[in-house]
């Protein structure tokens, strides 16, 4: 009996700079250059992209963003112009935050973007600040010494030529899954731990002082910087009518290779995967996303219009395959355990439900699981959805439910004491050591 047992977090997250850019045919090079070389020098950056339009009227920028149809690239796909409008109308003047926290272990696109095209992100930050009239901006980057230095240098370079109207503060994001959540970031800005807050009223999160916070994913800002230069029509030359533009995707191939690529929205998923990858299922949208059977995934475009009806979303662009020799239940159980441990511990249903669900899934991943494990899991999943302050329980349940659907045959096998997985090596990436200390949120 091969082991489908969960192992504690052995797969490390790649460090900044260790990226393999594999470009599928049809890949674009708007945000990341074709040769993958970092564009840190400001002069070279401006030579390549052109000067950043100065003193563009906020209303014009927002109108251009609306025409472009840019949506947030942090996972929620919220129309960018609406957030910018809300921020422009908010009083007092908001602080603008570039969110590169990237708490999702399977995603590397934000740190890659910051590593390779920092000035594009910083341009976007300035444009966003111009629309709201903010004089202060913050850039949240993952905790990484080399990345931090590079970003600090880029900011200093711009300051030296007085390029930026809003002063940019560089901050390290805590390495937790939820640290990149909007209200968690706002909380961290105030000096409190990066824990999500309860927000019954829709709208921008606010600091303790009452100042609103405009949070935009760093990739969204990069697109913003290009829309400001080249316009909406240019932006729409890629992607689909409803989901225009390009996006960064993090691909996890069956042989263990990981890559960050820039693709048009709506690109066929089949084109992202290698032609002969031995794949049984594909995870789209990361650990709050959903599994899809490989043959079904191969027919789909990477777009919410097609994925939505199947219970999946593009999310932050994570596309991870499950190699044919792995056990889908075991992999999902490992991730479910991680997701449970990443609970902020604030909301009763979440910190009670997610660990129990993870434990039940662990049972199902073993041979001959207890009959009640599945029933318990279903009951707990129902109890957890929608009852947290943030979407951690909802997203985790979506991911786990999709696994039970897609790996239903595997569940049946396990009941008979068998397993189709022949390779016990963990596949999906998780942080190498689970942080559990209270201070890890600050």
């Amino acid at each position: 009996m091969t082991g489908c047992l969960t192992l504690p977090f052995p797969a490390p997250v790649p460090a900044a700079g260790d990226y393999v850019l594999t470009g599928p045919d049809g890949g674009l090079h708007r945000l990341l250059p074709a040769d993958g070389a970092a564009q840190v020098d400001l002069t070279a950056h401006l030579a390549r992209y052109g000067a950043l339009p100065h003193r563009a009227e906020p209303r014009r920028i927002i109108a251009e963003v609306e025409a472009a149809g840019l949506t947030g690239r942090g996972g929620a796909a919220f129309p960018a112009y609406r957030k910018l409008t809300a921020a422009a109308n908010a009083r007092p003047t908001p602080v603008v935050v570039g969110n590169g926290a990237e708490g999702e272990p399977a995603s590397s696109k934000d740190r890659s973007l910051l590593w390779i095209s920092p000035h594009l992100v910083l341009d976007g930050l300035q444009i966003a600040a111009a629309t709201t009239g903010s004089r202060t901006a913050v850039l949240y980057a993952p905790r990484n010494e080399r990345l931090h230095q590079r970003l600090a240098l880029a900011i200093a370079e711009r300051a030296a030529v007085r390029m930026d109207t809003a002063a940019v503060e560089l901050r390290d994001a805590p390495g937790r899954f939820l640290a990149g959540e909007e209200s968690a970031l706002a909380s961290h800005l105030t000096g409190l731990p990066a824990l999500p807050g309860y927000r019954p009223a829709r709208g921008l999160p606010r600091l303790g002082s009452g100042q609103p916070v405009l949070v935009q994913n760093v990739e969204t800002l990069a697109h913003l910087a290009l829309i400001a230069r080249y316009g909406a029509r240019w932006f729409r030359t890629a992607g689909t009518e409803e989901e225009p533009g390009s996006m960064l995707a993090t691909l996890h191939h069956a042989d263990g290779r990981m890559g960050v690529v820039e693709v048009p929205l709506g690109i066929p998923v089949a084109q992202l995967l290698g032609p002969r990858e031995p794949v049984q299922a594909v995870l789209i949208g990361g650990y709050h996303g959903a599994w899809l059977p490989a043959d079904q995934a191969a027919t789909l475009p990477l777009a919410n219009a097609a994925l939505g009806p199947l219970g999946a979303t593009v999310g932050a662009g994570v596309v991870a395959v499950l190699p044919a020799d792995r056990c889908g239940l075991g992999e999902t159980a490992r991730v479910a355990r991680y997701l449970a441990l990443e609970s902020a511990g604030q909301c009763g249903p979440c910190f009670n439900g997610l660990p129990r669900i993870a434990a039940a899934l662990d049972h199902l991943a073993r041979p001959r699981p207890d009959r009640r494990a599945r029933a318990d899991l279903d009951r707990w999943a129902g109890l957890v959805e929608g009852r947290g302050a943030c979407h951690h329980p909802d997203g985790s349940v979506r991911f786990i439910r999709s696994a039970l659907r897609v790996f239903a045959a595997e569940t049946a096998l396990h009941e008979q004491g068998r397993c189709s997985g022949t390779n016990p090596q963990p596949f999906l990436p998780l942080p190498s050591s689970p942080p559990l200390a209270h201070t890890d949120w600050s």
Binding site: Q346, N352, G353, R387
Partner: protein, 67 residues
């Protein structure tokens, strides 16, 4: 004006008074946390709802306007 009972899940520590005082509107899950109906509070139960809100030791319950 229709009102709805809402729980702040970060403030709620599972005291359970709400379920005792307003059993028609709140039940407890197996961990002692409130399951609040998302339907508007009928006028007849308005006072019951208010009583539950006032008596929550954690000030986690609120009566909010239905959006």
């Amino acid at each position: 004006m229709a009102k709805q009972l809402r729980v702040d899940p970060t403030a709620c520590t599972g005291h359970g008074l709400c379920a005792e005082l307003a059993p028609e509107l709140v039940t407890l899950d197996e961990w002692g946390y409130p399951l609040v109906t998302n339907r508007p509070v009928p006028r007849a139960l308005d006072r019951t709802a208010r009583r539950a809100v006032t008596n929550c030791p954690a000030l986690a319950l609120a009566l909010a306007r239905v959006p």
